[in-house]
């Protein structure tokens, strides 16, 4: 499914805060059609900022960012965002909406007919492995894993070709997380979306990623396939891999 067509392209993108702090510096990479590109990095590395530049929740300071070949500045911002699915940690669900209304939000503001929306909600619930009887519940009545699935379903609702995911499985216990990762991978293989996925978790990155981009202090350190990542000679990559190895060993100590 993956081909080399760039769907999201960063060219020398920088993002500077009004106080002069540089969050992202000269970032250049592209996400190719149908791949899961992982943006990996520690807290403060700028990975979430990079994601928010794509759907223009933040506006880049310099450089150029193209989505489907068109500069993000030339897109109508509302159109751009509806072209891109967005899933974040569970807090992003609307607490005053039922599951069905949360999922149906984008189709309903695009004025889909009601029966088409209902059918789409049912289809999405099935797709993300949820029983249709939860559609009338509220987010606070769901488990963490269910909320996450609803978040993914909502991001997919209007069938956007691009998905941005910001640690969508971050708040889950390891077993539920592994389930969701596996299901997400098979979902992605069915749907062929272009996914940009932010995480700090190396295991998640290796499990899901087609390619992994490592960010550190707002710069791109390396961009390799998932397989090459572990054997990369790049010192910062090694440091990241080692750190994960160490924490894992520490955790296993009684």
């Amino acid at each position: 499914m993956t081909d080399a067509t760039p769907v999201v392209e960063f060219s020398d993108v920088s993002y500077v805060l009004p106080d002069g702090r540089k969050i992202l510096q000269d970032l250049s990479f592209e996400a190719r059609r149908g791949e899961i590109l992982i943006l990996l990095g520690r807290s403060g590395s700028g990975k979430t900022t990079a994601l928010k530049l794509i759907n223009r929740l933040l506006e880049l300071s310099s450089g150029e960012l193209r989505v489907d070949g068109r500069s993000s500045k030339d897109w109508n911002v509302i159109e751009l965002r509806r072209h891109i699915g967005y899933a974040i940690q569970e807090v992003g669900l609307f607490p005053h909406y039922t599951v069905a209304r949360n999922i149906a939000l984008v189709p309903s503001i695009q004025n889909w007919p009601k029966d088409k929306i209902d059918a789409r909600v049912q289809e999405l619930l099935r797709l993300v492995g949820l029983n249709s009887d939860i559609s009338s519940r509220y987010p606070h009545q769901l488990s963490g894993g269910q909320r996450q699935r609803v978040g993914v379903a909502r991001a997919l609702a209007a069938d956007p070709p691009i998905l941005l995911m910001d640690e969508p499985f971050g708040a889950l216990d390891p077993l539920t997380r592994a389930d969701l990762q596996r299901e997400f991978l098979s979902l992605q293989q069915q749907l062929g979306k272009t996914v940009l996925f932010v995480t700090h978790d190396l295991h998640e990155a290796l499990r899901l990623g087609t390619r992994i981009a490592l960010l550190e202090e707002g710069r791109l350190v390396s961009l390799t396939s998932a397989d090459e990542f572990l054997t990369s000679p790049e010192p910062l990559v090694k440091k990241y891999v080692d750190a994960f190895g160490t924490t894992e060993r520490q955790r296993e100590k009684p």
Binding site: N55, I78, V91, G92
Partner: protein, 213 residues
């Protein structure tokens, strides 16, 4: 003459003064809602206006009510009738809790929820009426509740400028040095305040967004 016999003998007057009181308070609260909520929303969008708007509302709040009635007296059209004057003054007093609570309610909506909504392509209006206002509803209702209870109390003072309402009985009682007459004005006003408070409290609870356990 004790309180109960005064009330029963003058029940029609007490009832009509109560209605007058309700009318002044009701209209001024509605006006304050119509002006205050949009102003509260405005200062969440133009943050530079936040300080001046809140400061003005604060200053109005500190003007003693009798003085405010007096200041407004020379105003054209408004000053012609005491009732208009009372309504304007009460509206001004009710603005602060409404503006402030609308601002606080909207700005305390979880950042992540707002980001998710914008990221999905909601326009600014859709964000406001589908997400921010519903989630801020309980805080805004708390503001209306405060405004309403304050207004019911303040409206008794409006009788001093001849605007009517239950204050009339209170001032008459003071002049007559008759506690029963004072109580005939004070007790219905207090009951009205308590009822308004519990009604709005109930609404507030209903509109409180459900949270994760």
């Amino acid at each position: 003459m004790n309180f109960w016999s005064f009330i029963t003998q003058n029940r029609y007057e007490v009832a009509s003064l109560t209605l007058e009181h309700l009318w002044i308070v009701g209209i001024s609260t509605v006006l304050a809602v119509v002006v205050g909520i949009p102003l509260g929303v405005l200062i969440t969008r133009k943050r530079s206006l936040h300080k001046p708007v809140i400061a003005i509302a604060n200053i109005i709040q500190t003007i003693p009510s009798l003085a405010l009635f007096g200041f407004l007296l020379p105003a054209p059209w408004i000053g012609e009738r005491a009732e208009r004057l009372a309504i304007l003054a009460l509206t001004l007093y009710a603005l602060l809790p409404l503006i402030r609570n609308t601002y606080v309610g909207i700005t305390s909506v979880d950042r992540a929820i707002v980001d998710a909504a914008r990221g999905m392509g909601l326009t600014d209006w859709q964000l406001l009426y589908k997400v921010e206002l519903p989630l801020a509803a309980s805080v805004i209702l708390a503001g209306i509740r405060v405004a309403l209870v304050i207004s019911i109390g303040l409206a008794t003072i409006a009788a001093a400028i001849g605007a009517g309402g239950l204050g009339e009985l209170i001032f008459r009682g003071l002049a007559m040095v008759n506690n029963s007459v004072i109580l005939a004005g004070a007790i219905p006003a207090a009951v009205m305040a308590l009822l308004a408070d519990s009604l709005l409290g109930w609404l507030e609870k209903r509109f409180t967004p459900q949270r994760a356990a």
